[in-house]
Amino acid sequence: MLRRLNRLLGGDERRVDSRTIYVGRQPGSTNEAFIPPKFCDNRIVSSKYTVWNFLPKNLFEQFRRIANFYFLIIFLVQVIVDTPTSPVTSGLPLFFVITVTAIKQGYEDWLRHKADYEVNKYRVTVLEDGRRISKESEKIKVGDVVEVVEDETFPCDLILLQSSRDDGTCFVTTASLDGESNHKTHYTVPDIEKDLEMLCATIECEQPQPDLYKFVGRMQIYRNNQESVVRSLGPENLLLKGATLKNTKKICGVAVYTGMETKMALNYQGKSQKRSAVEKSINAFLLVYLCILLSKALVCTTLKYVWQSKPGQDEPWYNEKTPREKETNLYLKMFTDFLSFMVLFNFIIPVSMYVTVEMQKFLGSLFITWDKDFFDPEIKEGALVNTSDLNEELGQVEYVFTDKTGTLTQNNMEFIECCIDGFQYTYRDTASELDGFCVTDGPVSKLPQKASTEREELFLRALCLCHTVQVKEPTEQDQGQGGGLLDQVDGLGVDGEVLQPPQEEKGFIASSPDEIALVKGAVRYGFTFLGLENKVMKILNRNKDVEMYELLHVLNFDPVRRRMSVIVRSRSGDTLLFCKGADASIFPRVRQEEVERIRMHVDRNAKEGYRTLCVAYKYLSAEEYAQADAGLREARLALQDREEKLMAVYNQVETGMSLIGATAVEDRLQEEAAETMESLQGAGIKIWVLTGDKMETAKSTCYACRLFQRNTELLELTVRTLEDGRMRREARLHELLIEYHKKAVQDVPPGVTRSWCSDSQDYGFIIDGASLSMVLNCSHESNSSLYKNLFLQICQNCTAVLCCRMAPLQKAQIVKMVKNSKGSPITLSIGDGANDVSMILEAHVGIGIKGKEGRQAVRNSDYAIPKLKHLKKLLLAHGHLYYVRIAHLVQYFFYKNLCFILPQFLYQFFCGYSQQPLYDAAYLTMYNICFTSMPILAYSLLEQHICIDVLLENATLYRAIAKNAMLRWGPFIKWTLQGVFHGLVFFFGVRYLFSNPALQNNGQVFGNWSYGTIVFTVLVFTVTLKLALDTRHWTWLNHFVIWGSLAFYVVFSFFWGGIIWPFLSQQRLCSVFAKMLSSLSVWLVIILLILLSLLPEILLVVFRNPFAPRPRQRKPVQSSVGVLQSPRSSSRHLLMRTFSDESNTVF
């Protein structure tokens, strides 16, 4: 074996994808010239900027955004070319936007700098030449031996060399890495001498890679005058930077990855940016407006030169050009004229829209965090918003992909029953059955019967041994309490008393709640797991004896095998293998005659919605064990393909077992899961359940959640329906797909969308992972796309789809497939576990549930909520409102700038196409910033066109805004036409008034600035009042902002025209506003034009909701499209009903 290892070593020596680290003194072998390898230092740099590069880098990044770049260009044009408006008008808003963004990013970066500094300057203890030296964390080099004490975080990735615990283990918690707060055990490298000073070794390990749970390496320890010893290193030896040492006084480890090469740093990456549909609409509208802008400028330039070609027009005697203008080349002049027109009309695409949209999104998302309905008293947390970019997308969801475990169900496992050798044992939590065993009649035998005691005990021992649960060690502070707990555990055997749950909770720690449930279940039957010490598992059996088992190997769980095993050696010297796992993965590996007895129980339990596991064991003979041991050790030492090799050994060992029994663990439905699902379906959202669970379990959950109704016809495409003796699988698949397609798609009356008619037959679709991969990866290219299409069409016509036995990647595949299907529907994924991360990242909106399975889902989600039931309000109320708000905001912004710039455009026809601005520069600048920005911002934050309560009661209202209804071309054209109409009214109304500019009773006349100011006044009032008309929810803030803006405009105008401003070169507006208001005609025309502009608006509103009573008074509509509010029945009851529903299944 050593030879083989050496060969491996030699072969791997020069590989680039591994690194060699020298620990302690130089390796004894002198034949190699020692070149100190170069590794990066332990400095963490998460900040983006430094003081020096902040300005250029930040500016560069900001101007990479198309919009900012566009405004920069406009600004530069204004600086360079002689343009009608001063560069200040567009420079100031741009400067404001850029500055605010830069300050925000600078502040965030400063925080990162601070955090980096703290991490980098942290004092750590490094052992050097036998002395303990305190060093700054950033000075740690690869190969340094670092000492870490309890509750400290590891400064870099370390290989655990020594622990203060006797058994060479240490406990860590990776809460800050992946959110799992349970303690994890890590092991020292075996055969390290106690004196680290003397240690001399090389570590060879792979190059840094981000996977937290993968690490392969090898440590070669040189002993004085002895041959070197090689030890394998795996993830269990690696302590990750960022994890915290717990329950262990101190450890020593050697640094293998430092600084930016640590797994934590490699994992630190921004999530890919998700863009909402609204943003895409905005960009489309922007393009339209850009075209309008360009064509306006083009029209004006052309007409200008046509106009100028007439003699006397270009340069009349009263208006001569400067010599420089005369000299300019004609074509260059045309070009600069074009640019000037662009600048004059550029306000049609406002800078402030981006600011307002950003602010709306940011401030709007606060309402989600503030919502007390999202607060969960259990975990004492509310909703969490990770991105505010997708608020409005919540109102657009068409497909919801939900995980089952932990999302639809609580993931709060409770041991319900078990079956041993075909006999059913149901645990009843009653005092009368003190011994904990109650045998109910199993389906096999009607008579109360028990399995033999021997089998019972074997089964319970298996439950106690086959797991990775730890007993929580009492810390020093609560030693007394912990002792009490142990006493009670001891006492349990004596009086057979059931432990009180809270104390029980404290007892065990595991990452999976199933395991705890099983271990606790065993406790109820009298077998208590006392803990693992020095690789010895202790069990307190029914006779209050402590049984000791030496833990030889743990064959870890993985999702492919779907089982785990332990190999233990009992006191008597027997080597036993216990294995537990999903039925499908156990049954083929046990003797078939045993299977039938258990299968019935398993199937029945699965139908009731329980999670079932089968337990098997086998005795290993000495030879068998030796072989397995060797295989395992060898596989663990492999540097390449370790996973595959291990898997092969596992599969080899886990054969020929005998089945003892099965367990059933109940996973309760989440609160209001059924109601939530029903509302979402009522909202026209299609719900797909994607789960890794068994079909039967998942199906019953679906019935319980009312995703499948009693009358739902189930279309099944699973391994079971595909197993048809007569045909090949693929042919059968083809046949079934065609058949279902005919049923679900073709038979539907044309023109009716499935989800909208409730009286016709509902279909539910069930597919499992294996069948799905057959559909997706069909051998024939041509069939593949056909199947995919058929599959999608069937699914789209089903009210609910259940995909079971899904691998995480398959979940993401499904989401992706639906996302890219016709019409590109908006998808939402909701889940709570690490296995949902891929689909959460894939979907348009990812929602994490703050469940029990760590924080990965929450961290990768866009929004996190404590419970599934909160999804209803998040979508139906928040999503709906956000969508309406932002859609209105966007449309309104384009509208108000169109009617702002249109008069300016029209004015060109009256001023010789000379780019004369209609409005004063102050008005041009402040229109979007001050006069009209606040009301729309307030609207877009506070508007509730329909009360939240009504939205929640009538899920069907959600359909009204489906498919981006408010931002399609129809509404856009409507708004644009309105803008054009308003612009025309403003301009020509004043134009006809000015056919006689003597508007005062003293005969004095008004000039061009009065003209512009009148138009502008009408504009500001109309635009604001239009918004007032659209506002359905007037809070005091709306009143304040709307009337305040108008008042501000008036006050500002008085003020602006009131004095001579020393810094202005032209006093254009001096007293213009006051003079304007002293004319009665102007008052009359302002009133007339405002009214005339709003008249169509009022009419439209009136005709849209004629005589409708207020929505808050409206009773919940039991409309034909609405989902029937079926009487609430307990989910338990529904679960029972599933048997009768089985008959609906189509085969």
């Binding site: 998460s46 009608p84 990162r112 955090a115 890495l177 303690h183 994890k184 092991y187 269990e236 994992n267 005697w317 009263y318 208006n319 400067t322 503030w370 919502d371 007390k372 999202f374 947390e381 475990t405 730890q470 999976s512 870890n556 769980f557 993985d558 999702p559 999670r611 596991l613 995480p808 576990g833 690490a834 296995n835 990965q856 000379s914 506070l942 939240i948 134009r991 006809y992 008034l993 500019p997 003597a998 005062q1000 009773n1001 005969g1003 006349v1005 000039g1007 600035w1009 005091w1036 070169s1065 032209q1066 006093q1067 007293s1071 007339l1088 008249l1095 009419l1099 009136v1102 004629p1106 005589f1107 009573p1109 929505p1111």
Partner: protein, 368 residues
């Protein structure tokens, strides 16, 4: 071994870890305030035919009388326009317009007779009107120096470069600089009443009160404060190229001379449209019994200085009375009557709809 990797759920290695600076989760219970819970008390108006109906009738009833009032007022305003451009051969000013040259020292005068059919009772306002004159051309509008006009002595000697090419003349700063000032209207218009007995009576024209009060007293100021010696104040400046006289000789009255000359101020307020009128003189009503301008024939005497033929412009003289709404303009009256009638009409339609469908059911569906 890495502990606890058994999990009935599938796990994959897809784990992202936030680095330093990752946001901390807030664990505070959200405050139960009306604002944060989006439950601010709110007024929720719903516009329905029922609520809008009275408004429509109201607007209709309110606008139509105003419109009629405006229309009648506008119609009662007497206005007379005389085009004296002289582009026709028959026009009395034809010769003047043909023989125009900037350098001629002898003024060309033409006389236009006209007849008033009705007496003008109240104050009569005399306007001059120009057509196809782009006072709102950008190059023109900006060609001025407001700080010079505001009496700033620095700007007087160093006009803004916006005034180019009318900033300097032979190295001397032009006061007032710029194209607007340079092209100031300089025709002199005089009115004579032809008495039936054959004598011509010159009608007194007031040249003050024609400019905005604020312009005259705030925006425009002569340099040198109250120094009455304008020659000294404007020492070293040049008159605008096209002017016959320097700015301080516009009027004999020191309160109406220099930059605060009202004719000048009126001209400096650039017109909004290429066809415009500007107030020239006011004929004050003297006697309550006699009309300001009685019926009869009149003569307009024009000193023809201002060339418009080169850009095909027209010149007009307008006599007009003024009402509370300003000069004659039927637009407002007509617009008010129209909008008022439309509102009234819509009100009627809505009333019909309201009666027909309103009481029937809530779900009456009238799509727009």
């Amino acid at each position: 071994m890495m502990a606890s990797s058994y999990n009935a759920k599938d796990e994959d290695g897809n784990i992202t870890v936030s680095g330093p600076g990752g946001g901390a989760l807030r664990s505070k219970k959200p405050e139960n305030t009306a604002f944060k819970q989006q439950r601010l008390p709110a007024w929720q108006p719903i516009l329905t035919a029922g609520t809008v109906l009275p408004a429509f009738f109201g607007i209709g009833l309110f606008f139509i009388p105003i419109g009629i009032g405006l229309y009648v007022t506008s119609n009662n305003i007497k206005e007379l326009e005389i085009d004296y451009t002289g582009s026709d051969m028959s026009s009395p000013c034809f010769n003047c317009s043909q023989s125009f040259s900037w350098n001629s020292t002898k003024p060309c005068t033409c006389t236009i007779p006209f007849h008033l059919d009705q007496p003008y009772d109240s104050n009569v306002f005399m306007y001059y009107g120009l057509s196809n004159f782009y006072q709102n051309h950008r190059r023109y509008v900006k060609s001025r120096d407001d700080s010079q006009l505001n009496g700033d002595s620095g700007s007087l000697m160093k006009p803004s470069k916006e005034c180019e090419p009318y900033a300097y003349f032979e190295k001397k700063p032009i006061a007032p600089c710029g194209a607007i000032a340079n092209s100031m209207f300089n025709d002199t218009l005089e009115l004579f009443y032809n008495n039936p007995n054959g004598t011509k009576v010159k009608i007194p024209l007031t040249s003050t009160g024609i400019a905005w009060w604020t312009d005259k007293h705030v925006k425009f100021r002569n340099p040198g404060g109250s120094n009455p010696n304008f020659t000294a104040v404007f020492q070293g400046t040049a008159k605008p190229v096209n002017w016959r006289r320097p700015v301080y000789e516009l009027d004999s009255d020191p309160e109406n001379n220099g930059f605060i000359n009202e004719d000048f101020i009126v001209w400096m307020r650039t017109a909004a449209l290429p066809t415009f009128r500007k107030l020239y003189r006011i004929i004050q009503k003297k006697d309550d019994l006699l009309p300001t301008l009685p019926r009869g024939s009149y003569t307009l005497e024009v000193v023809y200085n201002y060339p418009v033929r080169s850009f095909e412009g027209r010149k007009r003289m307008i006599l007009s009375t003024i009402s509370w709404m300003g000069g004659k303009n039927p637009f407002l009256g007509i617009a008010y009557i129209t909008v008022g009638s439309v509102c009234f009409f819509l009100g009627v339609i809505l009333l019909i709809i309201h009666h027909k469908y309103g009481n029937r059911s809530n779900s009456a569906d009238i799509s727009s």
